[in-house]
Point group: C2
Chain length 546, copies 2
């Protein structure tokens, strides 16, 4: 206890208390309320309502409609209506007038960055219906876009031209749950938050959590290999998804809905659909291994004097907190200043440090976890790895500390626009990209405090525990000069360090042309080979991915 | 503490002490010494030396040599010798005499169940050499078998006819290790135990552990998607392997050796090689996420009165031990009796119970872990889920308790032979197969205590935490009547319950013809499509897998 005197008053006070969160109230659940609408229909448009939704075809005039695809005819529509029966299962803008309100949620993304010309939305109620739809589309050369909650960030789930949207929204049943093994089997259209609430009642947790949980569908999560907040602890979906049911473009139903943790009988084909972004088939159900829900959650917010010290703190946290560490998030001072400026609030800590860290622990024993976290904090403050810190005493404080991290994306975009890069870079060099980009913008005289300068600031934050950085350039207005500095510089910088130009957001339309920065020619060739193998006519989610 | 009186004296004594294992001395490391020889050459023949090694072609006369494959000529041998240079890199039984001692370790498996007619072993020293070898073989229609430590159980890594063995034994460098992220990059031929010892010095652990660790190669582990003892805690290789380097049959080097935990840019092709058993390409290096090594390890050995109570105990262990649970192994009484009979030893517990459980915890804080385990034991004994138990006080006791579980395979085979099934079945029905098989053998009058009966006993044990059962039929001699009872009954039984006929051992030659019991026709068709895509000439590990 020799180091106790180094701990700030706030921290010292906090350490005397411990906090137990009710099993069915995760930090994710409370946080998601801040920015999600709990509905299975995609209606996120408030987020960027000030930006007009341009057609993707106007933004990217170089993308041409693939003329091999047929135009949708009234006969096609009749087939789908006869097949799906119910009125609510077809939104028909081909043979009827449909209000923009009804069609837009399927045609545009929630950032209002992408907007398609889709006139037909199909909502099958079963895997067999998906199979019949896809077979018909494949036979008739009708292009399709599988769509879940439509919460993606790279334009992967919205049409570009007149592709038919096949929505998973009516396939939303939990099929089974085994409360001994923790294995959940559910339709692709189950909303992530609903799955997580269902599991909470059983004492389990969905091994994925992300901001859009109130809207996103688990099928879409798997199709895009979503990363999110629990990856550090529970690993990626490539490990936790045990099986999938999917439909190939020719209507073949791939029933690989295994409920087994171990099954070494053949190639693990389901993995191609995980992160395949609906380009080789449509996922209709998943089977997933769910971990026990932790009864104890603690959150600490710490200041460090350099990025080197942040790395040291991460190493110590992995060692000392080991099995209970569930989040290690980094935020630079600039990102925090933007949050405080936007909110008119104060930092949880006195003074200023170049970097802040949010640490979350989740475990089965509140006392043990508090002791481990307390010892860790004493140790890193004693060694002067961490210069200051505060520990949440109750759920309100946990939420408040998390909001310092989760408020960044909103704050960064508050004064106009933001250029966003979701990248993965080996940890030792991860933050360098922020300094390098900032230096280039500064050298060009484009950054400043007044309206004369387009750039407000260049900030970095993200899932440090997963080497996943969000590089954001906050701007007052979009400016070609800024874009010229950023691209291809950012991608080249990442490629030189064998990083990833899309750590968790996927390729979609946004990154399709930049894949070469993260993948070599051989791999891209092999990707195209797989695409051609499963979707030789190219009807699945065209104009995207590879 | 109301339940303390229910705990047996042994347990009560044990609970007063806690145990800290040195970081670089894992239970795996000590256990492996019992049955492995620490060498990178495959020389396991002592294990089943009493059984003569029949040629696979004699055991399976229905398998015919694929006449599309060329015979190896002196010109072929000259090419390989010129390419590989060193004498030690080629074992040439084509143009020269080679002693059986030198060739047999590559031609046969360590169980002496499979034996090929291979006359040429190549040991490339680099990925480029592997590429040139495969391209030459593909161009000249020479069939090959990639081989690591050759410790498999299904005949997957040995030739059937005259296929050329390409051994990874000379590719055994650790390429890099990042001690902040815990990411290891290493050649395919690194021995698992050597990798684990290397990591131990850094405070990390390889996320896989298995009996053959002293001989098996990590490339082979990945190629066969090995499961083993740490899967319950650290998940499967599909989650922990971050990247691979592999060579396709046409010589293409697939460089997907990512050191990133997150990289959503394209299909996750590496997954096809994980568990692909060398049938579409040869893995030459891997990149893998390694967890922190736990400083505290505890082991308890418990008795339960029924399989239902074993399931209850598992559920409680997951809940109460949560993040520190690292093994939950089941053994039936019959398996334990065979261990004691073979060794002339006593059970760690008084009396007899139909089932025993071994629980291991691994965590970062010895006191916390002991307290959690103590509380758990009090709880399950208080509820009469567990009837008796003992807790290891030191490393010798840990090893002794583990040997009750790990000694089963040897004991079961001690009196003659054993029919082995490595299966996965939904947990609620998992043990029923043992009772059902035993009843059938009993009905047929084939089981008994004297030499008149071929069957000694039918036993079940395994990784209960992963729903992975080892069903073993211990016999005095092999008998067609027993085989007729077992097959296809066992496979049909598993298929009816959507189980897996090979949970962790793979398909190889042994299960090739039985894949239909675990995979539907559509999947098998898709598997063959993948095989044909990557290996259109079929030179990679023929006669096996699908």
């Amino acid at each position: 206890m020799a180091c106790r005197s180094r701990i700030t008053p706030v921290l010292r006070r906090a350490r005397t208390a411990s906090f137990i969160r009710p099993v069915n109230s995760s930090p994710g659940a409370s946080r998601s309320a801040l920015r999600c609408i709990s509905t299975s229909s995609p209606r996120h448009f408030t987020a960027s309502s000030s930006i007009s939704a341009k057609f993707t075809t106007d933004t990217y005039p170089e993308i041409k409609r693939d003329e091999r695809f047929a135009q949708i005819t009234p006969e096609h529509v009749k087939f789908f209506k006869d097949l799906l029966g119910k009125d609510c299962a077809v939104i028909d803008g081909v043979t009827a007038e449909v209000s923009t309100d009804e069609m837009e949620p399927y045609n545009g993304d929630w950032m209002r960055k992408y907007r398609g010309h889709c006139k037909l939305v199909l909502k099958p109620g079963s895997t067999e219906e998906v199979s019949k739809i896809l077979k018909f589309c494949n036979d008739n050369m009708l292009a399709v876009v599988p769509q879940g909650g439509n919460t993606g960030l790279v334009g992967g789930s919205v049409p570009v031209f007149d592709e038919i949207v096949i929505s998973t929204s009516r396939m939303n049943e939990i099929r089974s749950f085994d409360d001994v093994s923790g294995i959940l089997v559910a339709d692709a259209g189950v909303v992530l938050e609903i799955a997580d609430h269902f599991l909470a009642e059983k004492g389990y947790i969905f091994p994925l959590d992300l901001g859009a949980k109130g809207s996103c569908h688990i099928g879409g999560n798997v199709a895009t290999n979503a990363g999110g907040l629990r990856l550090l602890r529970y690993g990626s979906l490539h490990g936790s998804v045990l099986g999938i049911e999917a439909v190939l473009p020719d209507g073949t139903i791939v029933d690989d809905l295994s409920k087994l943790r171990k099954n070494n009988t053949g190639y693990d084909l389901k993995q191609l659909f995980i992160g395949g972004e609906g380009t080789i088939g449509m996922i209709t159900a998943i089977s997933i291994q769910c971990p026990q829900r932790s009864s104890a959650v603690n959150v600490a917010f710490l200041a460090v004097d350099s990025y080197e010290k942040a790395q040291q703190a991460f190493k110590e946290a992995r060692q000392q907190l080991g099995e209970i560490l569930s989040a290690f998030e980094l935020m630079d001072l600039r990102s925090q200043k933007l949050v405080q400026k936007q909110r008119g609030s104060k930092s949880p800590l006195e003074g200023e440090s170049p970097f802040y860290i949010l640490i979350e622990t989740s475990g089965s024993n509140s006392e043990h976890d508090s002791e481990k976290l307390g010892n860790f904090l004493e140790d890193v403050m004693g060694k002067e790895v961490v210069s200051d810190g505060v520990l949440a005493e109750n759920e309100t404080q946990i939420r408040s500390l998390w909001s310092q991290r989760e408020g960044v994306p909103e704050a960064v975009g508050h004064w106009g626009g933001v250029y966003k890069y979701d990248v993965s870079i080996p940890l030792s060099e991860m933050y360098d990209i922020v300094d390098d980009v900032r230096a280039k913008v500064e050298d060009a005289g484009l950054i400043g405090d007044t309206d004369d300068f387009p750039v407000i600031d260049v900030v970095g934050y993200g899932h440090m525990g997963d080497s996943n950085l969000h590089l954001n350039v906050a701007v007052r207005r979009y400016d070609k000069r800024v874009e010229k500095i950023l691209e291809p510089f950012v991608y080249e910088w990442i490629a030189e360090r064998n990083g990833s130009i899309s750590a968790e957001h996927g390729l979609g339309l946004a990154k399709k042309n930049y894949i070469g920065y993260s993948r070599n020619e051989t791999l891209v060739k092999l990707f195209k080979q797989i695409k051609n193998l499963y979707d030789p006519k190219g009807i699945m989610n065209p104009y995207k991915y590879v």
